[in-house]
Amino acid sequence: MGKRIGMEVGIAAAEAVGLCNIDVAAVYPITPQSHIAEHLSDIVHDGRIDAEFITVESEHSSISACVGASATGARVYTATSSQGLMYMHEVLPIVAAMRLPVVMGNANRAIAGPLNIWNDHSDIMNQRDCGWIVMHAENGQEVIDMTIQSFKIAEHPDVMLPTVLNMDGFQLTHMIEPLEFPTQEEVNKFLPDRVPFATLHPDKPVSMGCFNMPEIFTETMKVKDTALINSKKTIIKIWNEWGKQFGRYYKPVETYKSKGAETLILTVGSMGETASVAVDEMKKAGKSVGLVKLRLWRPFPLEELRAAIKGCKTLVVMDRSVTFGGIGGPVATEIKSLIFHDKDRPRIINYLMGLGGRDVTVEDFISMVERAAKKKDETYEFYGVRE
């Protein structure tokens, strides 16, 4: 392990990719992902790694080029954000159905309209039914670690699925943090070469992307679902391998002072760090509050979540995007429906907050928990909205 250095997280994401012996990257710039794109092109143009860097004319083409390259057996990377991810949307379910590993970094940003370049999770939440492995990093070190882990997860013969690593735009991508990089030798030891299942090569011609008649389509969908569900085992295994080698352990659901707490805050992404400070303050004030953080969003870690929230009375779910039309936020909605039949399930209070870059402070978390205690029903609230 190298020494700690101060570096912007977006740059660090590109540096992490640079350690992974990629063959092809296809990237189209968009704020706040652009530093990843720029720095990765620096790494390639300076000859630090041997890879093809395709400066595509759009995100639709970046993901399409990644599909083509991955189908030849190459290790591929792309990164995007917001409108770019939306523009890729058509291709995303196809990548998963074709079982082609593609590793993506997504700098979370609100989707238009109206146009807004700042952070929330509406971009990734709009892709949730695509069949990708969806993970969230909370800080810069996790961005480095999870970027490297992503290649091993995506390419693993028991997985063979695309992965997207979410990092909050600006609030994470543009922070300068003290970071530790593994050495090249350490990464080589952790991350073996890709061994593809089938490739586009005349030595053994295959047809990929054949269309399905109704007689077989349902079966294909079930296979896609099963593949994603089954990937959880391998993801956890690979996270444990990482922990053993590097001493930093990763879990699908992380907890902070959650044992025995009556009220639990549930967060996704970088806001977990602010929430943990709020938990400390509330604990100091004698409140029974803890924190649960979803690292893995797809496949959904239901057992791990159940274990983490067991015994709590109120679960305060923080959603950084909106499922419009009277439903609330996607994270709360899903948790509600998944634990609906559970005996003694907690009351779920849902806040739609931190939208389009709205700052969420320690005081905000404290205030949300206090208000949650007074709420009678389980409806959602746009926190801090000015009427």
């Binding site: 395709i54 083409s61 189908a71 057996g73 291709v91 990929m208 269309f211 008649m213």
Partner: protein
């Protein structure tokens, strides 16, 4: 046009007997696209990876678990064949350079219909050509979105009736002329652009071979008769292709490093458009004045092309 007559004598000796695009596909009788595809694949040979756009050729050849493809083949979506082909090229190049696959040249080609090329696929195509990938792109132009039921594209010819440019009482079919995509490709400064038609198989295959051998971007626009969509007879596909060329509506030419050259010369007077139009139901509604308008447009486009043939010089 002797080549075509001699073709019958020489073909067995010249042309690979193997079919890389196989019988058993589900194309309509007399489909010009499928004939073009078969000849293209013969000329490309087995060291080829095909990236195909959604459209008739994809649908007729790849109903899971069947495939008509003997070469590695990938279909992803409608508008992105060129982008997928770029990725295939980059992947093969990197893997070969890094010693991860055998050190053997394999050509990446992309194939799309006119819709997948001149309309929804134009951005991806322009990007791929501009970036200089070693990618040959083949447009199979049957002048409409046939797979979805004969809707107009920007390659549909002036006044042709389609299901979205019907021959109505107020508007008689397609309102505009054909978008000139070969010209747009020439403007990308790529080394090789050509037009071709399977009614002239040797000419088509020669051009495909040239496109294959250019180690860079190349574009071939293949006029492909569609009896189903054109409301023509399925036994007249070859004849219609020839007429399109003989009228000068679809001249066969190539542009090497900016230099235009006709590959089928016009020694006699061009055949009148009426001969061609009257064989197709999609032009049935044209009256003599309409035919004159169509003829005038064809003449104008032909003059523009001849000017380039006469005046263009190679870039280098």
């Amino acid at each position: 046009m002797n080549t075509v007559e001699n073709f019958e004598i020489f073909a067995p000796r010249l042309i690979d007997k193997r079919e890389l695009f196989c019988p058993g596909h589900r194309a309509c009788q007399g489909c010009g696209e499928v004939l073009a595809l078969r000849l293209i694949m013969k000329a490309l040979g087995e060291d080829t990876v095909v990236s195909n756009a959604t459209g008739c050729m994809e649908i007729v050849s790849t109903a899971y678990p069947h495939t008509a493809w003997e070469v590695p083949y990938i279909h992803v979506a409608f508008e992105n064949a060129a982008a997928v082909g770029s990725g295939v090229e980059a992947g093969l190049k990197a893997l070969r350079r890094k010693g991860k696959i055998a050190d053997r040249y394999v050509k990446s080609v992309a194939i799309a219909g006119d819709g997948g090329t001149v309309d929804i696929g134009l951005q991806a195509l322009s990007g791929a050509m501009e970036r200089g990938h070693d990618l040959a792109f083949f447009c199979l132009d049957n002048e409409a979105y046939m797979n979805t039921g004969i809707q107009r594209s920007s390659a549909t010819p002036f006044m042709a009736a389609t299901t979205t440019s019907p021959a109505g009482k107020a508007i008689k079919g397609q309102r505009t002329g054909k978008k000139n995509l070969p010209e747009i490709m020439v403007a990308h400064n790529i080394p090789y652009v050509a037009t071709a038609c399977p009614s002239y198989p040797i000419d088509l295959m020669n051009k495909v071979e040239k496109a294959r051998n250019i180690k860079g971007p190349a574009y071939v626009h293949v006029f492909s008769v569609c009896p189903t969509g054109w409301r023509g007879a399925s036994n007249e596909t070859i004849k219609l292709g020839r007429m399109a060329v003989e009228t000068g509506f679809f001249p066969l030419y190539e542009v090497e490093n900016g230099k235009y050259r006709l590959t089928m010369e016009y020694t006699e007077k061009r055949r009148p458009m009426e001969d061609y139009l009257k064989l197709q139901g999609r032009f049935r509604h044209l009256d003599p004045a309409d035919i004159a308008k169509v003829q005038a447009l064809v003449d104008k486009e032909f003059r523009k092309l001849m000017h380039k043939v006469e005046t263009s010089v190679p870039w280098s």
